[in-house]
Symmetry: C2
Subunit: 235 residues, 2 copies
DNA sequence: CGTGGATTTGATACGGGTCAATGAGGGTGG
DNA sequence: CCACCCTCATTGACCCGTATCAAATCCACG
């Protein structure tokens, strides 16, 4: 049974938002209510640049809904996508500690709604909520592990299979005839995520398709007939 | 004037060790003394493997003195060095949160002495010392930034110059005729850090030498006649 | 059903990897 | 102090994989 929104609708809406977010998941109700009052909500539409290159951020931002990409642009204009952020992820932590701009640009891949905490508020929260610190450290450590993994995987085929596996897990839905995966990025996007040329990815995908590992359905969907086989190829 | 070591020599020695470490730098004296009692000291000699591949660590380890390398080994035996750790750096945080082994091996490059905090003690410390959490988050965020940077830099020449710049800054001493840099790794090590073949690095170094950017002195030392030029080439 | 952007395919070039041979440094024992 | 050896580094020849450029084809959307 849902409570109707009364006078302070903002509160009830935002409580909803925060409970979805792992960083705040373990907090007690009074703690949550305290935090809610500090949060600034922001919404963006698909394609909007939320944090431009070299911009300073003034706090930490947690994603309430939607998908974002974080990418760097090299001198010669190539885009390297570093992260795909979704519900529950956060960004902006870098500026908090180093007085340096966030080293990547952040752009909405879908309509997004964000929860923003200002630097001083966040700093205060960290002091009072050791569990929050723990959660943040855990998330960063997880993020580190994924980059470490990326760096030490030279073999392109395995990198691609690894990404497919990740997408399969995050965006796949079981169907007759195999897992149906809604890709979060275009071919160009995937290539930029993997740090390779668009054309190379095409060739690799064609190869995978003729090997029967994937079936391409339009530009944004693939089908994986045998997910176990994929998992197995990843060792 | 130095105080002589009395009955509790361990205390005075260890206090010394902790004050050097940025993570603890801002703590008050009583706080320090509390932590000192939790710390386990360990020493290793050059070449020793401190954390084997896939090993679980049981806490967080802070480096008191010496240099370590953290590396992963790919299926085909290639070594990818991920970090060079020195005085004040820490490792083992990954196991604390994920109940997963640290995703890299750690090996002593020189004789090292380490300060180890057990999981539960560290967890307790985090609760009581918000500043500690802040420091850890800052360090992880710094580490992330350096990996992000590495990943988005495809141009090999710039990657090499970047690493040279880093080494110059960390291990260089000004001399007549240019900055003298004591390399922390062999050529093979540097190649494994950059993720390229030993031979390729040799060729690049030869090129840089004939360009006059560096002068090679034996295997572990280089001279940089014009550090400003190097900085300039990095943009 | 047509149009423009995204994707795929083809041809070619280039950079770094690999293998093999040579060369330099740093210890060790005579 | 020198000769030797072993390890590490350099150089050369060649190969392979990915980038690049150009062209054809596909897909999504109006």
């Amino acid at each position: 049974m849902e409570l109707p929104c009364t006078s302070d609708c903002r509160l009830c809406f935002e409580k909803l938002c925060m409970q979805k977010i792992p960083v705040f998941a373990n907090l007690s109700r009074p703690e949550l209510e305290k935090i809610v009052r500090l949060i600034v909500h922001r919404s963006y539409s698909k394609g909007q640049v939320i944090v431009p290159v070299e911009a300073m951020t003034d706090g930490i931002t947690i994603i309430n809904s939607g998908k974002l990409k974080a990418s760097r642009y090299t001198a010669d204009g190539r885009e390297q996508i570093l992260y795909l952020f979704t519900e529950g992820d956060f960004f902006g932590e870098h500026s908090l500690f180093n007085d340096q701009p966030t080293p990547y640009q952040i752009e909405a891949l879908t309509p997004v709604s964000l929860c923003h905490l200002y630097r001083s508020d966040f700093q205060q929260l960290l002091k009072n909520l050791p569990d929050l610190a723990w959660q943040i450290i855990a998330a960063l450590s997880e993020r580190l592990a994924s980059l470490e993994n990326f760096i030490s995987q030279q073999d392109l085929d395995k990198r691609i299979l690894g990404l497919l596996g990740e997408f399969a897990q995050k965006y796949g839905s079981p169907q007759e005839g195999g897992l149906l995966v809604q890709l979060p990025l275009s071919r160009e996007g995937i290539a930029n995520y993997l740090g390779i040329a668009r054309e190379t990815l095409s060739r690799k995908f064609s190869q995978l398709e003729s090997d029967g590992l994937i079936r391409s359905i339009g530009n944004r969907t693939i089908q994986i007939p045998d997910p176990d086989l994929l998992a197995q190829l990843l060792d």
